[in-house]
Amino acid sequence: MQIALSQIGMGNPHESIHRMIPLLEAKGLAKHYGTTIALESVDFQVHEGITGLLGHNGAGKSTAIKLFLGILTPTSGSAEVMGKKACESVDVRAHLGYMPEHDCLPSNPTASEFLTHMAQVSGLPPVFARTRAADILRHVGLAEERYRSLGSFSTGMKQRVKLAQALVHDPTLVLLDEATSGLDPGGREEMLDLIRRTGKEFGISILLSSHLMGDIERTCDRIIVLDGGHISEAGSVSRFTRETQNIIVEVDNNLDELMKIMIREGINATVEGPLVIVELDSEDQYDTIRDAVVEADATLRRLAPRRHGLADIFRGGQS
């Protein structure tokens, strides 16, 4: 099997740039719309890999992305892209990709024509632009549909084209704003898989903005949580999803019988839907739980440590 250079982390001309300096850096970044505060003096850095920007609607995620793209000018502070101020450097955008949340595709051209044009607008010569368009359409799984007009595409296919136009010029960093918006569960899973591949296999760094904790948890390495224009949490996703002192017991039958036995044995257990959550006092209780399951004649499906979810951040579970 032949391994592409990209798969072992070579071949990206911009790699040396983002080893030395952060890809994105917010320094006291603030944006006000009249009396409305979208972002208030935030400081953070985005490095290589997949970073999630999590927050409720109106938390300031899209504003932060637009400030880094140079579309908006900060009220105070600075938004820097690879060491350059975003609102002052147009050329740095040649190394950025952006996938907006809203519709942004023309209906007339074919996918191939549109991507070729977008590659040229990103600075690629026509011959290279055509090749890149064909390559990217293959990577996002639209090679067969490349000569169909975009107006005839389904929502899922349009999302893929939106991602493809953000990748067609091989950016160093791509900013995805609510990338799974409007997709059904199947389409959402495929899109998240594509994003993961873009980050892990293609070696393109990603800033994924979303209000869906599941998307961030399953895709990102690091996370920045925005709340009301402020950063409430930042760090690696694994830090937020560390193990707790609770264990989950999932059985297919005899749940009530199992609970009675556990309470009799002095185990601190509660029922949450189809699960039994046990607050562990000592390691010995694993044996007691096993014996209780056997005594209740229940079919054990899962016995595992419980991890924090990103949802706990919003519930104050990390504080």
């Binding site: 032949q2 907006p100 809203h102 595709l105 600075g123 010569p125």
Partner: protein, 315 residues
């Protein structure tokens, strides 16, 4: 028999290590894409109909006028390059009104503008690229007809070389006049298109603006018919030239109201020709600098409004 064997490798994602031409390539892409849109290239047959018809008319009128000029002397006054502009100006205005919105409205309605603005391209580059694209098409259209006409006049003359020697200065003249007309017919429809996402609204507004102002100007610059001698009498033309419109002294200023005729006044000055329309007769009574200043105000003002409108566009 030789057996050919092969194996297909999936090289995975390949990073791009070719040239990146930055902002200049981006501007060029916007310009080329704008011209293709204006001409309906890369689109269905329906999009090509109007540009096709227009190029057909432009060429046909030039050929017919060349044939009339080449015909044996009939005693009638021969057509000129200025006459040609008068013939095609109405067609050009309609073309501009319908096609110019195609270059701006869909990008905003479909949201493609947001993809342009996050690339190595400023809003000035985008607006400038679109403007230049439509200007290029308009200029090509105008020059094609005038060049055919000039070639026709030259070949149809009794002595072609003598005609060429005596009239070669017509070429820079009609090119300059064409430039004036193309700048105007590009800028005005584009500024209207910047205020709506609906192509039909923009087209209807521009056509309406041209026709309504032409009708108003025609009415207010019309001569008092009672003061004119009967049509056909030897003094009719002179009386028409000197007559005072019903609106009195202000009549000559009201001639500037007809927006569609503004570039025509300047092109007549460049071509050293006299248009016989009532509006043009009145405008000619003004100092030469006035229609030129009015033209500059309209084009530069419209261009500035267009740029300002897009500068305020936020995602």
């Amino acid at each position: 028999m030789t057996e050919y064997g092969g194996e297909v490798f999936d090289l995975g994602y390949q990073h791009y290590d070719g040239p990146r031409e930055g902002r200049m390539r981006a501007r060029k892409a916007i310009w080329v894409n704008g011209m293709r849109t204006a001409l309906g290239l890369g689109q269905g047959a329906r999009a090509k109909i109007l540009p096709g018809i227009l190029f057909g008319i432009v060429i046909l009128v030039a050929v017919i006028m060349s044939l009339i000029a080449a015909a044996p002397d009939s005693g009638e006054e021969l057509p000129t390059h200025a006459d040609y502009y008068r013939f095609i100006s109405i067609v050009l205005l309609i073309f501009s009104a319908i096609i110019a919105p195609e270059l701006l409205c869909p990008d905003r309605r479909e949201g493609v503008i947001y993809l342009y603005l996050v690339r190595p391209l400023t809003i000035t580059d985008y607006v400038g690229g679109r403007w230049l694209a439509f200007f290029t098409v308009s200029m090509a259209l105008i020059c094609t007809g005038q060049l055919i006409l000039f070639i026709g006049f030259t070949l149809g003359a009794d002595e072609s070389l003598t005609y060429l020697k005596d009239n070669w200065l017509d070429v820079p003249r009609f090119l300059s006049a064409g430039l004036v007309i193309a700048i105007f017919t590009t800028t005005l429809p584009l500024v209207v298109s910047a205020f709506t996402t609906r192509k039909a609204y923009a087209a209807a507004f521009v056509i309406g603006l041209f026709f309504i102002t032409a009708i108003i100007a025609g009415i207010v610059t019309e001569c008092d018919q009672d003061e004119l001698p009967s049509r056909g009498s030897p003094s009719y033309e002179r009386a028409l030239e000197e007559c005072e419109p019903q609106t009195g002294e202000w009549g000559k200023w009201f001639g500037l109201v007809s927006i569609g005729e503004v570039p025509g006044h300047v092109s007549d000055i460049i071509m050293d020709d006299e248009n016989e329309s009532p509006v043009a007769r009145q405008v000619r009574k003004l100092p030469t600098i006035i229609p030129i200043l009015w033209y500059l105000t309209m084009t530069i003002g419209s261009g500035y409004i267009l740029w300002r409108r897009y500068r305020r566009l936020t995602v």
